[in-house]
Symmetry: C2
Subunit: 134 residues, 2 copies
């Protein structure tokens, strides 16, 4: 049993689909693309992470990402800074050019809304040695 | 007792404050401005409506609004169209220039995230005769 196991069935906005960008993640994640802004500048969707799942280090170029945490417990880390624990209600703004990653805690499901502008550059995975020290 | 009475204490993202734009609403609502996008184009926040509370008819000029319903039961109506019932997980996109209103159902608390670009033009209230027919 992991924390927030009820998230295995989907969150407020539904189940989504197995993440089509899964090659840039470790562990299983589910993406639910809800809409785009009418000016086509910002994608709006949810990402749901099974316990231990996380995305690779990445950078948003010519844009940004805002995370609105809706459920579960996760991690967010910018390069050169300590990881910060995330819980429902937390808001994270990642500015253009900042190398970072986010994902679930090892013993918990995790879900956030993501508002994403620009183009991501996917980098190396967050290795187990780094992740398991959190 | 109204439906979703637990929302009286606040939702996922907290309680917020009594809506400083309350002059453009009927009934009590609470606003929680979470952040702005780094390009200052889109405000991100929650609005929580007590049962029966709703905003005036309004138009978003030079922008748009996206509602992500997080809890409770509400209404959304564009001018000339029937009102549509809203529940958690629903997503509404209001394009530039469309006259509309949104708010709680008469017997339920209601909460949504709002992503707002541009400038609102506030118009007449949704009168009780119209609202009570819903």
């Amino acid at each position: 049993m992991a924390k927030f196991d009820e998230l295995a069935q989907g969150g407020i906005f539904g189940e989504g689909v197995e993440n089509p960008y899964g090659q840039f993640f470790l562990g299983q994640t589910y993406l639910n693309q809800l809409t785009m802004t009418p000016d086509d500048q910002v994608g709006v969707g949810t990402v749901r992470f099974e316990p231990g799942a996380r995305n690779n280090w990445h950078i948003h170029h010519d844009g940004y990402q805002i995370l609105l945490v809706t459920d579960g417990q996760g991690w967010y880390q910018e390069e050169g800074k300590p990881a910060q624990a995330l819980k429902a209600g937390d808001v994270v703004v990642t500015k253009e050019g900042v190398k970072h990653w986010h994902g679930a805690q090892a013993d918990s499901w995790f879900e956030h809304i993501a508002l994403t502008a620009g183009t991501p550059e996917w980098l190396e995975p967050v290795d187990d040695e780094t992740y398991n020290k959190l």
